[in-house]
């Protein structure tokens, strides 16, 4: 029987007195590739913050524990626009920041840490621009560097927040392929937050749809149906297959604007 890494049990999440999601019950297991999708403001980031420990549930429990009872190490890839890059840190220096917690206070990075940094850069194919200032990189390059930074922390779980935001088609597919590689070949447990259904539909293994007052989780085939999406988005939505890919076709909105 699989042991859950993350276990939400009757959890209510929110800020202050305002609850965003109530009675949440779901688990994330080792080796999962979970997509968290939903419109802006639905509560996806709230779930992520609770998992990362920066937000305490208002009610219920959230257990986060490795299989051996130890703590879980998270590698977090934030949205690119949350980062302030006035100073010209190189991509390599940014990736090294992911090691700081493991290095600890009062200690400097050692050769072993730099080796892990180089290894992380190699995994994301960012060696070529590792010496360039992070702020001068393209959107796709920045995203690779941020993923490398998360990998440098040697995480058990990789959490990516809108990793394909603001990217063109080619960059989006490239980043999604990289994330898929990290899951398949590096055996990382992955949680990917996105408001783009198309991005997750053909990449994740499990899907959680988050909407105000609504939460549904399961295998992609179970969750991603026309009926589910039509009810969720209040418009006719059809889910079909084309050349082995899942395609989502949306009609006109019928709800109140």
């Amino acid at each position: 029987m699989k042991t859950p890494l993350i276990d939400f049990e009757a959890a209510t999440l929110g800020y202050g007195r305002k609850s965003v999601l109530r009675n949440l019950n779901f688990r994330v297991y080792v080796g999962d590739y979970l997509g968290l999708v939903g419109p802006n403001g639905a509560g996806k980031t709230t779930i992520v913050r609770t998992i990362l420990g920066t937000l305490t549930p208002l009610a219920g429990t959230v257990r986060i524990q490795a299989g051996d009872g130890g703590s879980v190490c998270f590698g977090y890839v934030p949205q690119r626009d949350t980062i302030d890059y006035v100073l010209p840190y190189t991509a390599r220096e940014v990736v090294m920041m992911g090691r700081y917690r493991r290095i600890g206070l009062l200690r400097r990075p050692r050769e072993a840490d730099w080796s892990i940094v180089e290894e992380s850069l190699k995994h994301v194919e960012a060696e070529e621009f590792a010496g360039l200032p992070f702020k001068d990189l393209s959107g796709g390059q920045k995203q690779r560097v941020l993923i490398a930074r998360a990998l440098a922390a040697e995480p058990d779980v990789l959490i990516l927040d809108e990793p394909t935001n603001g990217m063109d088609l080619s960059s989006r597919l490239s980043i999604l392929a990289l994330i898929g590689y990290l899951h398949d070949k590096q055996h990382l447990t992955i949680i990917m937050v996105s408001h783009l259904l198309d991005d997750v539909a053909n990449h994740v293994k499990r899907l959680a749809i988050v909407q105000e007052g609504y939460f549904l989780v399961g295998n992609v085939q179970e969750v991603l149906t026309g009926a589910t999406l039509s009810a969720l988005y209040e418009m006719p939505v059809e889910v079909t297959q084309l050349k082995g890919k899942t395609i989502i076709l949306a009609g006109e909105h019928r709800g109140n604007l």
Binding site: V86, L87, Y100
Partner: protein, 276 residues
């Protein structure tokens, strides 16, 4: 006055002024790199005004507080309040700082209007910060603040850098970003308080900004930016003091003027480099 005569006069007659101006220059330049990187330049201006207000309050008839302590208490009190208010979402950060800035300047003017005339001149001198008459007590307080601030920042350089760059991700890794930022603001507040008392608000604010921006134009590595900013912080005051002696200028504006010219040269160099 020749250069050797200048050094001989200054080091004999005003050694604390000479070393003190370099000390303030280096301290503010060093902190200024993070202040500019965190986009809280206006905070530097606000804290210098709050420090000046604290000085002015110590001249009130019933306020029996040493000037340096009054300035320090006001500055650190503002740091504690602002560090909470600046993270709030209802009022923009700039607006919060603007309110404190305007209120501090207004309060200082009102206080000075109620202090006896004989003390007003002394207050104005203190507020302007005449480096030539810095006391040994203030110099050693500034030296202590400099050593502690530089020491703490350099020992925890990677932590301060990470949190300035990406506080959100640092928090997910277990860093208490708000506490680290508070530590930085407290160190900055102490330095700004003593420095403002020594050299005045213009010098302090100028050196929180000018050397850091100049360094960012000149060099492309983060550690080099700190180094170049500190070098400017050390050299500009010496040149500025020399010019002040030579042409009978006030020392603080002369020193800030030199830092500004350095920035101008750096900017011009970058413009010329781009055009090639």
């Amino acid at each position: 006055m020749g250069i050797s005569e200048f050094f001989s006069t200054v080091l004999t007659e005003f050694p604390l002024a000479f070393y003190g101006s370099i000390l303030v220059g280096i301290s503010c330049a060093f902190l200024g790199v993070t202040v500019v990187a965190k986009r809280v330049v206006f905070l530097g201006a606000v804290l210098t005004q709050v420090s000046v207000l604290g000085l002015a309050v110590t001249f009130l008839p019933y306020a029996h507080i040493p000037h340096t302590l009054g300035s320090l208490v006001f500055t650190l009190g503002s740091v504690m309040v602002l560090s909470r208010m600046l993270t709030g979402k209802k009022i923009p950060r700039d607006a919060v700082l603007g309110v404190v800035f305007a209120s501090s300047v207004a309060a200082r003017i009102l206080i000075m209007q109620k202090t006896p005339k004989v003390e007003t001149a002394e207050i104005e001198n203190l507020l302007r910060g005449d480096i030539l008459f810095v006391t040994p007590e203030l110099f050693y307080l500034m030296l202590g603040a400099f050593i502690v601030t530089m020491g703490v920042y350099l020992v925890f350089f990677k932590e301060f850098s990470y949190i300035a760059f990406d506080a959100e991700t640092a928090t997910t890794q277990g860093y208490k970003a708000a506490r680290w930022e508070l530590v930085f603001y407290i160190m900055a507040g102490v330095v700004i308080s003593f420095a403002t008392h020594m050299v005045g608000d213009l010098y302090v604010f100028g050196f929180l900004v000018l050397p850091a921006v100049t360094a960012m134009l000149l060099v492309k590595r983060v550690r080099s930016i700190f180094l170049v900013a500190v070098l400017i912080g050390a050299i500009a005051p010496v040149i500025g003091l020399f010019l002040a002696f030579q042409f009978d200028f006030s020392s603080s504006p002369a020193i800030v003027g030199v830092a500004f010219v350095t920035l101008g040269v750096a900017w011009l160099q970058q413009v010329l480099r781009r055009s090639q």
